[in-house]
């Protein structure tokens, strides 16, 4: 049930002739309440919500998301609280499908089965686990599928074609393409054209699946990726929260404004 919400969101965007807009924010950043307010505010313009599970030692994240994660942990976030935020969000006016994103240790400590149960209960549709690569993730991905949760496989520019084929074969209805070799929030070192060239190769191999592009996407370059099934904006949001705190602005308003801007650039 929940997994199919992701498919529905993509179909709706396709019908509108535009990519899906996915935004990543860390649950609990800057506080539990504010992060929920952020989701409620931005979801009007967002198609799929990615919610980060704050981790103390995020090896694939750049400075902006690291700052968000630490801020959220300081403010008392943990997985129980993260699920509460998602549950509340799903009751709001625009209850977009939610993907949880994070690192394996949190799930391991929470207990895999309990985690999946909580995902279902709170209305989580998909999962991205950054440090649980293929093929080690096969067993867990299968468990997710059985429970109607999309396990989203990641592909990167360094993934060989042969490996790509295997990963695509084992993927569910959504794939995440990492635009370049960098941590999250890295400045684009390659042109959008080159990124799309690789991306299209994946699309050809993964017919019928929804492929999104993430890492390094901002309001400045998002319009270049209109031809994709979906685009993910993450670090930019963390940066906006950080700046809002510094200037004593309201991050909810600032992020709402930014997502409106992002949306306007892809329609």
């Amino acid at each position: 049930m929940t997994a199919s919400l992701i498919g529905q969101a993509f179909r709706k965007c396709k019908a509108e002739g535009r990519p899906a807009l996915l935004t990543y924010t860390v649950a609990g950043d800057p506080t539990k309440k504010k992060s929920l307010d952020i989701l409620k505010a931005i979801s009007k313009n967002v198609d799929i919500i990615e919610s980060g599970m704050a981790f103390s030692t995020p090896i694939a994240d750049g400075g902006d998301i690291q700052t968000s994660a630490h801020r959220a942990i300081q403010a008392g976030i943990n997985l129980n609280e993260t699920f509460k935020i998602i549950k509340e969000f799903k009751k709001s006016k625009y209850p977009r499908p939610v993907i949880l994103m994070g690192y394996w240790n949190l799930i391991l400590q929470f207990n895999e089965n309990k985690f999946i149960k909580f995902c279902k209960k709170s209305g989580v549709s998909g999962l991205i686990i950054v440090d649980l690569p293929h093929p080690e993730n096969k067993a867990f991905a299968k468990k997710c599928k059985k429970n109607e949760i999309t396990f989203i496989q990641l592909l990167s520019p360094t993934t060989s074609k042969q490996r790509m084929k295997q990963i695509i074969k084992d993927s569910h209805n959504m794939i995440y393409y990492i635009s370049q070799s960098s941590t999250t929030g890295g400045k684009l070192k390659v042109t959008p054209k080159e990124i799309l060239k690789n991306y299209n190769k994946i699309r050809n191999l993964a017919k019928g699946k929804n492929c999104v592009i993430g890492f390094g996407i901002t309001d400045k370059n998002i319009s270049k990726f209109k031809s994709a099934n979906g685009v993910v904006v993450g670090s930019l949001n963390s940066k906006i929260i950080t700046n809002a705190i510094k200037k004593k602005h309201n991050p909810v308003i600032k992020l709402d404004k930014m997502t409106r801007k992002l949306k306007s650039k892809i329609i």
């Binding site: 090896i59 240790n105 070799s181």
Partner: protein
């Protein structure tokens, strides 16, 4: 119960997914690093069978690190003072640069060249790994960048100076506890973004499977030397030997023990000494002796200091080199297989041990990391008979700790 196999180096006793004992280690890495890690794995596995590569390594390990093996000496005065077991030291700190990290650094530099890369990056806690990488990089004509937690950057100044003098760029890391754990995270991030040009050498037997293997393969030199030295000294391998080694990530302990894995533990026992932190402090860096839960840190499953939600704990120790919340999957395996025993000693224990050794022995000047192991030796030796041989790996020189020692003990 997991079991140690005989006649196979422990570094090779993992399954096809890289796990020791089916659960420790593995490669929990972002997709972007899969290919660089696969490439490195293929290259390393090929080169370790290549006679020319091995000959070059042996030249460096046997001559350049130290003219012949690093010394193996009896601590006569300490033994007499304590009574009981006979205490020896394997003085690995006599190695070029002053610690065992030189072995891993040489391997990394050689691999870097073979991978046609010009940049060598690494992490450092005590600063020794960074220093050795800077020495090796300079010798092999490579550029070098070292990530170091800011707290360590300040407290291990002599090694920072040495790295800079050798032309390395030292990058202080300001995130988290600003110690080794943050330096390792940051070097992994740097590698994600720069793997095309840069070769990563991890400073201990931690991180993804291949890094554990490369590091252990390198430090194993210590026990190859020691085995011969023991036969020279005693005529044979004695009947009762205890090999004591401090354990942070666990590279020097693996190095001291690797050749002796197959011996019955009643003949040769292993004891790893972790950092218990300041007396009365709840923070420690001793996941094995405190039975921390298994978790995933820096690409490997291991016992790790963490809270109930899986957030990695901040640690505290006077020894920057031991101040790490996780520990090598190899040591997790050895603990669970019952082959090695792990205990912890406090900052104060290490300082007292250092003081006593400096008072009684003039041939060694152990840094605060091996001082933890000496503290254990001092505690147990009087209860043991003189037929027992205790060998402590004095794996680092105290020069880097001169400011801390002066502050805590009044003089260096």
């Amino acid at each position: 119960m997991i079991k140690l196999k005989k006649n196979i180096p422990l570094i090779d006793q993992h399954d096809k997914h890289g796990f020791w004992g089916g659960k420790f280690g593995g490669s929990f890495i972002p997709e972007t690093l899969r290919k660089p890690i696969d490439d490195l794995t293929v290259k390393f596995e090929k080169l370790r069978k290549d006679k020319k590569f091995l000959a070059e390594r042996d030249y460096y390990y046997n001559n350049w690190v130290h003219k012949g093996p690093t010394p193996f000496i009896k601590l006569e005065n300490l033994t007499n003072h304590l009574g009981g077991a006979r205490i020896y030291a394997k003085v690995v700190s006599a190695a070029r640069g002053g610690a065992h990290k030189i072995y891993g650094a040489i391997t990394a530099a050689m691999l870097c060249k073979k991978m046609n890369k010009r940049y060598l990056v690494t992490d450092t806690g005590a600063g020794y790994n960074g220093k050795m990488f800077s020495i090796a990089a300079k010798h092999f004509g490579l550029k070098c960048k070292v990530f170091m937690g800011h707290k360590d950057y300040l407290r291990q100044q002599p090694n920072v100076d040495a790295m800079k003098k050798n032309g390395a760029e030292v990058v202080p890391v300001y995130t988290g506890s600003q110690t080794l754990v943050d330096a390792v995270s940051e070097v992994m991030r740097y590698w994600v973004s720069n793997h095309e040009k840069v070769h990563l050498g991890v400073g201990s037997t931690v991180s993804a499977n291949i890094f554990v293997k490369i590091c252990g393969w390198s430090t194993a030199q210590i026990s190859r030397e020691l085995k011969k030295q023991m036969i020279d000294e005693f005529g044979k391998i004695p009947k009762k030997v205890k090999l004591l080694n401090c354990v942070g990530g666990g590279s020097s302990a693996y190095g001291l023990w690797s050749e002796f894995m197959d011996y019955d533990k009643r003949q040769i026992s292993f004891e790893g000494i972790e950092a218990g932190g300041p007396k009365n402090s709840k923070k420690h860096a001793a996941p094995l002796s405190n039975n921390s839960k298994i978790g995933v840190l820096h690409g490997a499953a291991q016992m790790v200091c963490q809270d109930k939600f899986g957030q990695i704990s901040e640690t505290e120790s006077i020894s920057a080199g031991l101040d790490y919340p996780g520990v090598s999957p190899l040591h997790c395996f050895l603990k669970e297989a019952g082959r090695a025993n792990y205990v912890s000693q406090t900052d104060e224990d290490a300082l007292s041990a250092y003081k006593l050794i400096r008072k009684l022995e003039n041939k060694i000047n152990p840094s605060l990391e091996p001082s933890h192991a000496f503290a254990r030796a001092i505690a147990i030796a009087p209860k043991l008979s003189k037929n027992t041989i205790i060998i402590v790996n004095s794996c680092g020189d105290a020069l880097k700790d001169k400011h801390i020692i002066k502050k805590r003990l009044g003089k260096y």
